[in-house]
Amino acid sequence: MSEIAFLVISALTIIFAIMVVKSDKLVHSAIYLAGVFIGTAGLFLLLKAEFVAWVQVLVYVGAVITLILFTIMLTRKGEEE
């Protein structure tokens, strides 16, 4: 059971990581990056490291992604000009 969960979560994480690079819009990349971080938190949970997992969610998803989104949204969009 644990192995299946590990495979599913790591596959999703890798797919999200690829999508971060492949997607056209920066905001989409940021969303996929949030998915990668949540996947990493899931892997930490499987390793029974709850504290690290939730700190991962708090710091990376909560703070870093917000910072990235804020930065992207405050800068001019390139594709419209």
């Binding site: 644990s2 905001v27 989409h28 939730w54 708090l58 909560g62």
Partner: protein
Amino acid sequence: MLYSGMWTGDTMTNAYELIINILTAIGVYDTIFGVFKSYGMEFVLKLIIVLVTLAVLFGFVLVTVMFLTWMERKVAAMVQSRYGPMVTGPRGLLQPVMDGIKLIGKEDIVPAKADRFVFNLAPYLAFVPAILVFVPLPFGESLIISDLRVGLLYIIAISALSPISILLAGWASNNKYTLLAAMRAVAQDISYTLPLALTAIAVVMLTGSLSTVDIVNAQSGTWFGIIPKWFIFLQPLAFILFLIASIAEMGRIPFDFQESESELIAGFFTEYSGMKFAMYFLAEYAHLFAVSGILVTIFLGGWNGPVLPGIPVVITSLVYFILKTYAVVFFAMWLRDTVPRIRIDQLLNIGWKIMIPLALLNLIVTGFLITAGVMR
């Protein structure tokens, strides 16, 4: 071997074990377990029980949200000396049902220039954390979905997800008012998460545990036989700061910059209609109830209360928790109808120049008193 007992403390039975205990008490658990075991699928039974607890939680949240919308209008009506909704059902109790039907029937409009993917994703990102926060919330003795060992950290981490949804919704709508509202809301959210976490840490220092159940258990009993051992009496400053910060987190008046109608139409969800609007509405009220529940858990003794003879603790504790939570919810609604909105610069000044220094001071004093042996 599905992870039962893996992420949880062992201080109290949770809802999963409660269901098994009830089934065993009725005398059907062994039969059901035997049926699943004969196919070699015990984990399916465990999954089903987990899904049942989650479904009960979901239903509870939905009903609570419907009741809260009714209560909000009724409290506003009481404050303003009018009746509020009276037509649908007894004293207007079925009004939320009608509202829900209306919202389901509405056309789902996506603005032409909106980023469709992000626009459709954002309501779910608001809704899912609002439900997830309920997982380590102790509704009563053994009425908890999962007693996480780091429950309080989990709650803070999940609450930190809400700015993302707000930002995405505000940006994807491709509307300057929604973007402005999102910027404001996130600035507010970020500056008020800090005092929220800092004041919660003071309680964690007193308890020595991040588990919500341990925090509630540490508040059982009384001083001198009269005063209950709630942390509000040990941490009055932390309680006030946490209350203000949580009202700001919820984005309610006097801190409702997410949707200040007079300036920003309706805030970051201006462009949403139909079910997506309903999901923001649901998330908002679920968040209101969850934050009130967290406040009760941390400072107001959780489900502790006088034990009544002859009634099971499960029921009395649930009643105490619900009563206390609704008292906090009522306070938030009362505040909404009483005070005007403050300005955004005042909001940030209060957050950074008053609340965070006070929270840090509270933390230092608490640490000093614990080290000196005065507290606990």
